[in-house]
């Protein structure tokens, strides 16, 4: 969004309170959604739960195309549509809810840095695994990505997306990486997160922030998604405090509220 449009949206956002019928759109849960999109969607859901804002999840096959930035998930609040965790956090802040207000400047810098770490390493590794690892692509991704569409559209869309992701991987220098190197990067990232978390309940001690929501989204999805092999989830399972962290958030924000159990 351009700067003017963003300022405009912020102003409109500040004018109205959070409505009851806010909805979050993602792809079809059972057949279509992929690991990385599921992680992003879960992160947003966790964030909104932590802010105590009601949200209804709606699954649509063309969610990716409906989104203003081409990425899922996006939320439809009042008459505005906002996509991706970063802008959604800003939007929610304009409405007066924020999880990171209590942090000082240095902590805010750290929070932003760790969020970029998750995006840089974990998300990119997920995309690599989904789209550049031939075994996963053949068995899972292609079939899932195009499943709501008839032949030949399903194949065309899947190949187009794969080409796009491969271009991006090449541009950032991940094109030549092997799967083992990618898994090592995931391990490094998890190690960094584990060391930062330590024995605290959340990353910034007592209160969860958007960083906790993002990390939860990615780690929970990695742990619970069935892939061709278990190497990715094994890397996460090595760190017991991360497992405890995921369990804690799941219990506190999803089960206790009486919502459907996350599948």
């Amino acid at each position: 969004m351009s700067l003017v449009a963003e300022a405009f949206v912020s102003q409109i956002a500040a004018a109205e309170p959070w409505p009851e019928n806010a909805t979050l759109y993602q792809q079809l849960k059972g057949e279509q959604i992929l690991l990385s999109d599921n992680a992003a969607s879960l992160a947003v859901q966790a964030f909104l739960q932590m802010c105590n804002l009601p949200i209804k999840v709606v699954c649509r096959a063309n969610a990716e195309y409906m989104s203003p930035s081409g990425k899922v998930p996006f939320i439809h609040v009042g008459n505005q549509v906002v996509s991706e965790l970063g802008p959604i956090v800003q939007f929610v802040k304009a409405k007066g809810h924020s999880l990171s207000d209590g942090l000082d400047e240095v902590q805010k810098a750290e929070m932003k840095a760790y969020m970029e770490l998750v995006n840089n390493m974990l998300l990119t590794a997920e995309l690599y695994l989904q789209w550049c690892d031939e075994a996963t692509v053949g068995e899972i991704t292609h079939a899932r990505y195009g499943s709501p569409y008839p032949w030949p559209l399903n194949h065309i869309l899947a190949y187009q997306k794969q080409w796009e992701i491969k271009r991006k991987m090449k541009a950032i220098g991940w094109g030549k990486k092997t799967l083992d190197q990618v898994l090592e990067d995931v391990d490094q990232c998890c190690q960094a997160l584990s060391q930062r978390l330590g024995t605290q309940p959340y990353f910034f001690n007592k209160q969860p922030t958007e960083l906790d929501a993002l990390v939860f989204g990615h780690l929970y999805t990695i742990l619970t998604t069935q892939l061709t092999n278990d190497e990715l989830s094994e890397k996460v399972k090595n760190y017991s405090n991360l497992l405890a962290f995921c369990r804690r958030i799941e219990q506190h924000y999803f089960e206790d509220r009486g919502k459907d159990r996350l599948s």
Binding site: E105, A109, K112, A113, Y114, E116, N119, G173, R196
Partner: protein, 270 residues
């Protein structure tokens, strides 16, 4: 300690040992960790290389990309991070990710995509360092690579428009600079009194932005307002890269050797 380590990288100017961010990161880390690196600056005898510069060559290995080179140096026991705690090590990774995601697109844009800067400063400088006909091809290729990287990581499919992302990437970069400045505060280095990997990365990204003279300088202006970051760069330059224009030792007139503490650079502008 036994293997001789040779680094092939881009040369210096404007008071810097290297104008290229990634080369500078490796050079700074080598100084911090005490690795005896023989620096071969790319010059008119260079015939191009398979990998991307900077490249570290030892007797049996060729390593490219700063992250891998730093890992290799660490394995050879040249470790600038051994005094860091586990949490500080984790913070290092996180801040490096922040630099790459938020600051790097704007730095690439300032150097390689912004037409005034590219055609008046960057392209002539890089073209002057390498022989013909590479000088005609390589700068263009690097510029296209930079544009590609910015658009693919920040642009929105399916139509990638540069104008839409320009404002956003500069805003992110300024925010990143503010965050770094907040984090550094009044300390000499990011983690205590000895420099580490994070200092090498921050120095590598900031110093070219700080020192190179560009026509279009909005990001540079912002950086100059953050006095602790400027002081950080100047401190490292004066302590680890003392530039003496007079004394140098060279094997032949096309090769520059950088011995520990003495740097010779042909400074074309001041």
């Amino acid at each position: 300690m036994a293997a001789s380590l040779e680094l092939s990288c881009w040369g210096g100017g404007w008071g810097l040992p290297s104008v290229h961010s990634e080369s500078l990161v490796v050079m700074a880390y080598a100084k911090f960790s005490g690795a005896p690196l023989k620096v071969n600056v790319i010059d008119n005898t260079w015939r191009g290389s398979r990998g991307d510069v900077p490249i570290l060559t030892t007797e049996d290995n060729i390593v490219s990309q700063p992250a891998k080179i730093l890992n290799f140096l660490r394995k050879q026991k040249y470790n600038a991070d051994y005094e860091l705690s586990a949490k500080q090590g984790a913070d290092t990774l996180a801040y490096i990710a922040l630099l790459e995601e938020k600051l790097l697109p704007a730095v690439l844009h300032t150097f390689w995509v912004e037409s005034d800067n590219y055609f008046t400063v960057t392209k002539p400088w890089f073209a002057s360092q390498i022989p013909f006909p590479l000088s005609l091809i390589l700068p263009g290729r690097m510029s296209r690579g930079a544009l590609n990287r910015i658009l693919l990581t920040r642009g929105q499919p399916p139509l990638y428009h540069l104008r839409e992302v320009e404002a956003q990437i500069y805003r992110d970069a300024k925010e990143c600079l503010n965050l770094l400045s907040n984090r550094l505060g009044t300390s000499q280095f990011f983690f205590g009194n000895t420099p580490s990997t994070l200092d090498a990365y921050v120095f590598g990204f900031l110093a070219p932005l700080y020192k190179v003279r560009f026509p279009k300088i909005q990001l540079q202006e912002h950086l100059k307002q953050l006095s602790n970051l400027c002081r950080f760069c100047d401190d490292i330059l004066s302590s680890y890269f003392r530039i003496s224009l007079g004394a140098f030792s060279c094997v032949n007139r096309y090769q520059q050797q950088i011995d520990f503490g003495e740097v010779h650079s042909h400074d074309s502008t001041t």
